[in-house]
């Protein structure tokens, strides 16, 4: 038979049989689905998740309240209010520190430009991503929601406090990036 014209048959019967074989083979292969809520998603190391405000090893915050992240943010999601450090009891390693550091997660597009703009490597994008919540105000994350000791997102922490179980995080990472100083990877299941 010649090549198909407008009115000829759609495909040869041999091709039909071949395609039936392909689907039969696929039927007996293992599904590639990740059953996400039951099994954690394996993330890539450079995944852009919830922001983390890192600290120096001596405990001082890296953020010096310079607002460069807020300037770089294309979605205007970041608000920084700086204050002078007390020289005897400093919060950060610089002259000033961030008195208020807020990110509106509803506006954030997780582009990572804040991370690139930061001169001290204070704000880094981590791995937490289960941030669905109910109230608008709950999406504005403050320092208390993002500093390195904080594990999980707001809803995850609330659920853990409610059930008394450890924070359940739906991901695994092969290793934690060195920029995320002090961040503990989630326990492997």
């Amino acid at each position: 038979m010649r090549a198909t014209s407008e009115r000829s048959e759609p495909m040869s019967i041999a091709a039909l049989a071949q395609s039936m074989g392909i689907t039969l083979k696929a039927l007996f292969s293992k599904p590639v689905t990740i059953p996400y809520p039951d099994a954690p998603v394996p993330l890539k190391p450079r995944f852009h998740g919830r922001h983390v405000l890192t600290r120096h090893p001596n405990g001082l915050e890296k953020c010096i309240g310079c607002s460069l992240c807020a300037a770089a943010c294309p979605a205007y999601a970041i608000y920084v209010e700086a204050a002078e450090n007390d020289p005897h009891n400093p919060v950060s390693a610089g002259e000033r520190y961030a008195k208020v550091y807020e990110i509106n997660m509803l506006r954030c597009i997780f582009c990572g430009l804040c991370e690139e703009a930061c001169p001290t490597g204070a704000v880094v994008m981590g791995y937490d991503f289960e941030m669905a919540d109910y109230r608008y105000s709950d999406f504005v994350y403050g320092k208390e929601d993002m500093l390195v000791e904080v594990q999980g997102t707001k809803p995850q922490r609330r659920e853990a406090a409610y059930t008394g179980k450890p924070i359940k995080r739906g991901y695994t990472v092969p290793y934690v990036r060195p920029e995320l100083e002090g961040v503990k990877p989630p326990e492997p299941k």
Partner: protein, 393 residues
């Protein structure tokens, strides 16, 4: 039409269902309807799971243990969805059309013989035994087209009307080839009674041996009759927004789906009954001493055969794409219809001149050889592998 002693019993026994009391017929009818509805519900689940596996996914597994309650969730959802009736639609016909579809889809299943006589607690395992069974089955399943056509007509929508016209045209075209393909086995057996067809096959061998082309045509056309991929033009949901049921929503839409699936289940019960020995296990297995005794359960083989055909239909749906309308018509009128007629003519010759029935067996084999030769000759050479684009990922 005479059976001409080709196995047909010249003095058939009195209709056994006539001896069944009415309450027993009622119980059996209830069981058939209940069983069909359950089968429909779980057919949707099994189909979704199998299609998902063909696409290397997992399919619905959230509701209930391993997704087993998904049909229940689907039913609740379709009942409580908003039910729209188009303004200026013919309300009565609009509501009646899906009911017509479902009713006439259900009506055919009671004739399928599910086992030998007296296998159902001393009663016959079919609701009623009609001597014109086959005729009844196709007369009734043809009425389901009215459901589709009335749905399109009552919708007060041009799309629905055109879609229903198109559906009726394609369904009727396939009905012709379907009916004629069945004439060959009916000629051989000399009876339209489904139970007698099965019993004839027990004595003379399965009808697929004597009517392979008719079997192939029947398989294809029953797929079209059930509006099943690749012949699912009545509900071309991607390109035509379903044609005849564009304006249907909620449970009325679900009824159309139900009718379609029940047609499919009926077809997968009819094919084994007519061509593959019905409730009997394959003959060579019956000869084996152990298996022949152990697995001769009355209902088991019927269920196995139905399940096999349902699987085949799902498999086809997971593989093939929908035919275009002109392809569909050319395939029906230009290929299937003449082939069915030719095979009918051959069978008629064999019956009329009282040739041995083995002639049809050899002709079946010959047709298979011709078919395979055609396939091999028209197979195109494998295209060369495409060069890999880009420098990798």
């Amino acid at each position: 039409m005479t059976g001409i002693a080709l196995g047909a019993d010249p003095t058939p026994a009195a209709d056994p269902s006539a001896t069944d009391p009415l309450w027993m017929v009622g119980i059996k009818a209830f069981l058939v309807i209940f069983g069909l509805l359950t089968a429909f519900a779980y057919m949707t689940l099994i189909e979704r799971r199998l299609l998902a596996r063909i696409q290397i996914r997992q399919g619905p597994n959230r509701v209930g243990p391993d997704g087993l309650l998904q049909p229940l969730a689907d039913a609740i959802k379709s009942i409580f969805k908003e039910d729209l009736v188009v303004a200026k639609a013919d309300k009565v016909v609009f509501v009646l059309a899906p009911m017509i579809s479902v009713t006439f889809a259900v009506l055919t299943f009671g004739l399928i013989p599910f086992g030998p006589k007296d296998a159902f607690f001393g009663y016959d395992p079919w609701v009623i035994n009609l001597d014109v069974g086959l005729l009844y089955v196709f007369a009734v399943s043809e009425i389901a087209i009215y459901g589709i056509f009335l749905a399109g007509w009552a919708s007060n929508s041009k799309y629905s009307l055109l879609g229903s016209l198109r559906s009726s045209a394609s369904l009727i075209s396939y009905e012709l080839a379907l009916g004629i393909s069945l004439l060959a086995p009916v000629l051989l057996v000399g009876s339209l009674n489904l139970r007698e067809i099965v019993e004839w096959q027990h004595q003379n061998g399965w009808l697929i041996l004597y009517a392979l082309p008719a079997f192939a045509i029947f398989l294809l056309t029953s797929m079209a009759e059930a509006a099943r991929t690749p012949f699912d033009l009545p509900e071309a949901e991607q390109e035509l927004v379903s044609g005849y049921n564009t304006e249907y929503s909620s449970i009325k839409w679900a009824l159309f789906q139900m009718a379609e699936y029940i047609h499919l289940i009926t077809a997968s019960a009819l094919i084994p009954t007519l061509f593959l020995g019905g409730w009997r296990m394959p003959g060579f297995l019956e000869q084996l001493p152990l298996i022949g005794g152990l697995f001769a359960l009355p209902y088991l083989w019927m269920f196995v055969k139905i399940a096999l055909f349902l699987f085949f239909f799902i498999w086809v749906r997971g593989t093939l794409f929908r035919l275009r309308y002109d392809q569909l018509m050319v395939f029906s009128w230009g290929r299937l219809f003449p082939l069915a007629l030719a095979w009918f003519l051959l069978s008629a010759l064999v019956v009329a001149f009282k040739w041995p029935i083995a002639v049809l067996g050899w002709l079946s084999l010959l047709s298979l050889v011709v078919f395979l030769a055609y396939v091999l000759l028209t197979a195109r050479p494998k295209p060369r592998a495409m060069p890999r684009m880009g420098a990798g990922d």
